[in-house]
């Protein structure tokens, strides 16, 4: 069970359950549950300084406390949702840093996901942006073949020289600067051979200690196949059989975060079916965002299966440290800066394990830096939809990394990995960014 579930307030402490005031829009059971949870916030404000968007804007409606206040006002019928309400919801990274700062145990991530879902149902996104969003969430992320075709096209765009032309000419920058900013975030797409599907089973080396399922996710496999290969290699070396169920799909994290809960639930159900088919000792993943979402499937789906599934989910570093590491062969001498992904440290409360794993590699020296635990601004696709805020949130982190000059930066989430890579490149710093598991020789 996730930490936030374990932290739920004692049921008996409040006496009678609070009642929504007259005129509240709290009709369904779900709405009532979320309204009641919003009351856990007593407006103390300790979350403010933990919030990256509050730090940057100084606006109360860009803070966790302010956002909860608005959600509650809408639920209670005191506020007609307006454009500034939608903006207040959209600006949130759902980094959940505030949950680590909150003495009252407010389950902010859940509240925000629910509010966004309600808002998307009330005003479906319109125009070109809405169309692109619907296509992406319904037809691209969940469908491996469509995603593959799209990435193939993008690779063609990069390899054929069109990209070079577009970037050199500066045409896009002049015609559509917003689009150009996003185009600049495009990672180099690996070749079709590198993107080839994984096998269904990879046997342990040496004595077998357990059998684990492995989540490949949506964009991570085609965009960073090397991270998946390294993960499987290390798991095998450490004595674990790795099973890759072919019928698995996207974890649904982005859908939940961005107000497409129905599609997210469908993806979650598909993963329950794919992974619970055979007995597994754990379901391992190497993406903080996916791991957090899968550990929280019971918030989205009712029933024993979701609880069983989530109890098996482990981040790869968490899993290896929990099981005890076999000795690791020495690697090259490296000064390593570890960036803590929000969905590991705040959503999953995992901070020690990845560092323990890194320290177990002979030759690795961990270099602390300022803001190691703060958000990088990637937040799923946040850097695509809120580029200005995302940049402002990223820049102090890049400056802090530049100050300590590590040989390599590591972080356990694909979004953060790309975001920091882009930030370093834009600052003209030739520091590679990798997943921690890639450093294990």
């Amino acid at each position: 069970m996730s930490e936030s579930m374990a932290n739920a307030r004692p049921a008996t402490a409040c006496g009678e359950a609070p009642r929504p005031p007259e005129g509240a829009h709290v009709a369904t059971r779900e709405q009532l549950a979320h309204w009641t949870r919003s009351l856990d916030c007593i407006h103390c404000g300790l979350c403010l300084s933990s919030c990256p968007t509050y730090q940057v804007t100084g606006r109360e409606n860009a803070s966790p406390r302010g956002r909860i206040y608005l959600m509650r006002a809408v639920a209670e019928g005191r506020l007609e949702p307006d454009a500034s309400y939608t903006q207040a919801l959209d600006e949130c990274l759902v980094c959940r840093n505030c949950e680590t700062a909150c003495p009252s145990g407010v389950r902010f991530g859940e509240l925000m996901e629910f509010a966004r879902d309600e808002e998307k149902k009330r005003v479906p996104p319109r125009g070109l942006a809405g169309f692109v969003e619907r296509i992406a969430f319904r037809h691209v992320l969940p469908k491996r073949r469509v995603l593959g075709a799209l990435l193939g096209t993008l690779r063609l765009y990069q390899r054929s020289g069109v990209q070079t032309l577009v970037r050199k000419s500066g045409l896009l920058r002049r015609l559509a600067p917003q689009l150009a900013a996003r185009e600049a975030l495009l990672p180099v797409i690996p070749s079709r051979r590198e993107r080839a599907p994984l096998l269904e089973r990879y046997p342990a080396h040496g004595e077998r200690r357990a059998t684990v399922g492995f989540l490949t996710g949506c964009v991570m496999h085609p965009l960073m196949p090397e991270v998946h290969r390294a993960t499987i290699r290390v798991l095998n070396d450490q004595g674990f059989d790795v099973v890759v169920p072919p019928s698995q799909g996207c974890c649904g994290a982005l859908h939940f975060h961005f107000g497409h809960a129905d599609e997210g639930k469908e993806l979650a159900r598909a993963n329950l079916r794919a992974f619970l088919r055979e007995p597994l000792d754990a379901i391992v993943n190497n993406s903080a965002g996916c791991g957090a979402a899968m550990k929280e499937y019971p918030h989205q789906l009712e029933g024993e299966e979701a609880r069983r599934f989530s109890s098996l989910v482990r981040d790869v570093s968490e899993f290896l440290v929990e099981r005890g590491l076999r000795p690791i062969a020495p690697g090259p001498k490296l000064r390593v800066a570890y960036d803590e992904p929000c969905h590991l440290i705040h959503a999953q409360k995992i901070s020690a394990a990845p560092k323990q794993l890194l320290r177990a590699i002979p030759g690795v020296e961990l270099i602390p830096f300022d803001g190691q635990e703060s958000c990088c601004g990637a937040a799923g696709i946040y850097n695509l939809v809120q580029p200005t805020l995302a940049d402002a949130i990223l820049s102090p982190k890049i400056a802090a990394i530049a100050k300590v000059r590590p040989d390599v930066v590591v972080t356990g989430n694909p979004g953060c990995l790309m975001q920091i890579k882009n930030g370093l490149a834009a600052a003209g710093l030739a520091i590679p960014v990798k997943h921690p598991i890639e450093l294990v020789p």
């Binding site: 932290n7 009351l39 007593i42 403010l48 100084g58 606006r59 500034s84 003495p103």
Partner: protein, 477 residues
């Protein structure tokens, strides 16, 4: 956007830094105290002293009231915009301008968060002493307005002892420097007057603070007692025997429960009726000796458990639990009313008992967590603000608690300020003549009464004063 004032402010600051829609403003209708709600006419985000000057100059011309706000963690309603006031959000002014480790001073903008300053000066072996429980969020500007305290102010003194000079903008937009980081005080101590004036005299924009050297050794002790009463008696004994602690704090059973269920769980024993946290700092030889005295006094008062923090990590944990206590109360009920009365420390046991009886009488859930060493009580009353009848009972109990504290020679506020919350009780403490004197002080800085209207002083007190003034003196400087 039809409000001409909003348009004028937008012209001054640019549209991004003026908030004017209902959705943007609703979040400013209250601060850490949620009983009172009033949304501002609009909110502005200045970036500099010059911005603040320009804003106040405009508002003065338009005869429009204003209220300054830092992080909005105050507990007396000081940052609530009454009378359709313009809210001046100072959170963007958060530069640490200068750290001088030799003279042990720092110059900061008012939006700097309290704990950020201590973090920044730590490498020099220094710290900023006042440490309100909200220190990870509250701003130094807010601390100046409220003359904030904190557990360690027992030894180090409240904010006013640590702010040496202020750059302020007066309600007509003029800029003044109050105090001096080096010279003593020649003439009236206007700096001292300004600190704790709760935003009613003007807006501070820059502060020069004193920094303290980190002590050679720190010992943190936890003593658990079967009853709250026993813990209070131990505190009275500590004071009577002259133990010089840097902090003496008490948490009762309900508070322990809330904290131990939170992310700030500190390892307080859940079976105790109350825990006492005592911190000693100074030369190692002294703290070691004092620690033994504290333990002996705790034992004499039947402590059921005595512990010393083994290392810095455990020490931080004990303090984080204490400082998260207010927020952790969200687990008990949706709303919380925190009081801030001060009583003579020798009267602690009887007053704490009396407060318990008052809350029992009104059938209210009470949790106590307070700066026992200073006699600064924080009875926390947990309630559900959606039930009007329960809110009424909270008000009644609040009044009785104040009356009790004042009857034993106490005061209304130790560190949270009077704000909106306690102004109706000011007459319990002050005569009409006293209040009229306060009004004259206020009028000297702010004759138009634009700065944080309706705070601190009961409205009628000053209305009486105004009607007594010859008409020519009204509204001019």
């Amino acid at each position: 956007m039809s409000d001409p004032l909003v348009r004028a402010l937008q012209e001054l600051l640019g549209p991004q830094r003026v908030l004017a829609t209902r959705g943007e403003l609703l979040v400013y209708e209250c601060d850490g105290l949620t009983q009172f709600k009033s949304a501002p006419r609009c909110a502005v985000l200045p970036h500099s002293t010059e911005d603040v000057q320009a804003i106040l100059h405009l508002l003065h011309r338009e005869r429009t009231p204003f209220v300054a706000r830092g992080a909005g963690t105050g507990l007396s309603g000081g940052a609530i915009a009454q009378r359709d006031a313009v809210l001046i959000e100072l959170s963007r002014m958060k530069q640490i301008l200068e750290i001088d480790p030799v003279d042990r001073i720092a110059r900061v903008e008012v939006g700097v968060v309290n704990a950020e300053l201590s973090k920044a000066v730590k490498p020099y072996g220094l710290f900023y002493a006042p440490d309100p429980s909200s220190q990870t969020a509250c701003t130094l500007g807010g601390n100046a307005a409220e003359n904030s305290g904190g557990p360690h102010c027992l030894k180090y003194g409240n904010t006013t002892r640590h702010m040496l000079a202020l750059e302020v903008v007066l309600p007509d937009g003029t800029r003044e420097t109050l105090g001096d980081p080096f010279a003593g005080s020649a003439g009236y101590d206007l700096r001292g007057l300004f600190i704790g004036s709760e935003g009613t005299l003007g807006i501070a924009t820059e502060i020069t603070v004193r920094l303290c050297p980190q002590p050679e050794s720190v010992v943190t002790l936890l003593a658990a007692f079967e009853t709250l009463d026993a813990a209070c008696r131990a505190v009275s004994d500590l004071i009577a025997r002259g133990v010089q602690a840097s902090a003496i704090e008490i948490l009762d059973q309900r508070t322990i429960d809330a904290v131990e269920s939170s992310v700030f769980r500190a390892g307080y024993p859940r079976n105790a009726g109350a825990v006492l946290l005592v911190e000693l700092d100074g030369p190692a030889i002294e703290t070691a000796e004092d620690a033994e005295r504290v333990e002996a006094i705790a034992r004499a008062n039947h402590a059921i458990l005595l512990q010393r923090a083994a290392d810095e990590e455990q020490r931080m944990k004990l303090w984080k639990g204490r400082k998260g206590a207010f927020g952790a109360m969200g687990r008990v009920a949706p709303d919380l009313y925190v009081q801030d009365a001060v009583v003579p420390r020798t009267r602690l046991p009887e007053v704490v008992r009396g407060i318990g009886e008052i809350c029992d009488k009104y059938r209210l859930r009470l949790a106590n967590v307070f700066h026992a060493g200073e006699g600064n009580l924080h009875p926390n009353i947990a309630y559900d603000g959606t039930r009007a009848e329960e809110v009424e009972r909270v008000h009644e109990a609040g009044r009785e608690i104040f009356e009790l504290c004042i009857s034993v020679g106490g005061s209304l506020s130790g560190e949270h300020g009077i704000g909106l919350e306690k102004r109706e009780f000011m007459h319990l403490l002050y005569s009409p003549e006293d209040l009229a004197t306060f009004c004259r002080v206020r009028e000297a800085f702010d004759p138009l009464r634009l700065a944080n209207p309706e705070k601190v002083l009961p409205v009628h007190a000053c209305l009486e004063l105004r009607s007594a003034l010859p008409s020519g003196e009204r509204g001019t400087r």
